[in-house]
């Protein structure tokens, strides 16, 4: 059975929020996210593979992962763990990288250079009726620019913007 995405929404124009419930215990979902041997088994959409994963799971530790497309193109990503609460929460920065792990612009992979260089991913895990509810928040704001103040008023001002558009 393919787990249905409970909700995918644009909580703000530059933030992606995905919630899924996996029919598996939290320890197992955590292992799939944090153990390279497990991680490589799913890190890529359908028909992609993951030939490489290195995870240094501690605050300040880095990871380097590779996702290989069906036509053989490798997409490397790297980043640093910002916060780790075992079995509950992982926060990490995310950048495209070359295979040595140096952060590169999206232009390196033929995408628009206007894409942000470093973004922030927050994944949380909760028990829900014997299953695991995972929430993934991917925001384009780099860690350094995140603040309470930045979050406040974000939705509000964009609600206004949406209303004012023809």
């Amino acid at each position: 059975m393919i787990g249905e995405t409970e909700s995918t929404q644009r909580s703000a124009p530059s933030e992606l929020l995905i919630t899924r419930v996996f029919d598996a215990p939290r320890q197992l979902v955590w292992k799939a996210w944090t153990d390279p041997q497990h991680f490589m088994r799913w890190w890529g959409p359908k028909d992609y593979t993951s030939p490489f994963s290195e995870i240094d799971l501690r605050v300040g530790g880095r990871y380097l992962n590779c996702m290989r497309s069906p036509d053989g193109r490798d997409y490397w990503t790297t980043g640093t763990y910002q916060e780790i609460i075992p079995f509950e929460k992982i926060v990490y920065t995310d950048s495209f990288a070359d295979e040595q792990g140096n952060a590169v612009s999206a232009a390196y992979y033929g995408m628009t250079p206007d894409f942000p260089l470093e973004t922030l991913v927050t994944v949380t895990f909760e028990d829900q009726d014997g299953k695991t509810r995972m929430t993934l928040r991917h925001t384009d704001l780099p860690a350094g620019e995140m603040s309470e103040q930045t979050g406040a008023g974000w939705n509000e001002s964009f609600d206004k913007l949406a209303e004012s558009l023809p």
Partner: protein, 107 residues
């Protein structure tokens, strides 16, 4: 310093300025009247928005008129669409893999 639409939108005041300019052209002075912050601060935000391509400023007599360029916002939605597609694909596979793992552990 980043000068792109993502940087422009990282600040709540700049988002509010874009919201204000979305359906009307306004002078920098008129924009400033909507905010509790100083006019030089508003000018600085408008300059950053202009550098990021979200606002165009024309000189009209003694006034500086600001006009929003909302098509630039598409860069943001295109980033989100791409991320969303990738994540949904990965999470489908994670779901399949977890089912596989569970079956193995039961054996």
């Amino acid at each position: 310093m980043r000068r792109d639409v993502f940087h422009a939108l990282a600040d709540p005041n700049r988002r509010a300025i874009i919201g204000l300019l979305a359906n009307q052209k306004l002078s920098v002075k008129a924009v400033a009247e909507h905010f509790p912050i100083s006019r030089p601060a508003i000018s600085r935000h408008v300059r950053i928005l202009a550098e990021c391509g979200l606002v165009v400023v024309h000189q009209k007599g003694r006034q500086r008129i600001c006009e929003a360029r909302l098509d630039k916002l598409e860069e943001v939605s295109s980033w989100i669409e791409q991320q969303q597609k990738t994540w949904e694909g990965r999470l489908d596979r994670l779901d399949e893999y977890l089912n596989e793992l569970k079956t193995k552990e039961r054996k």
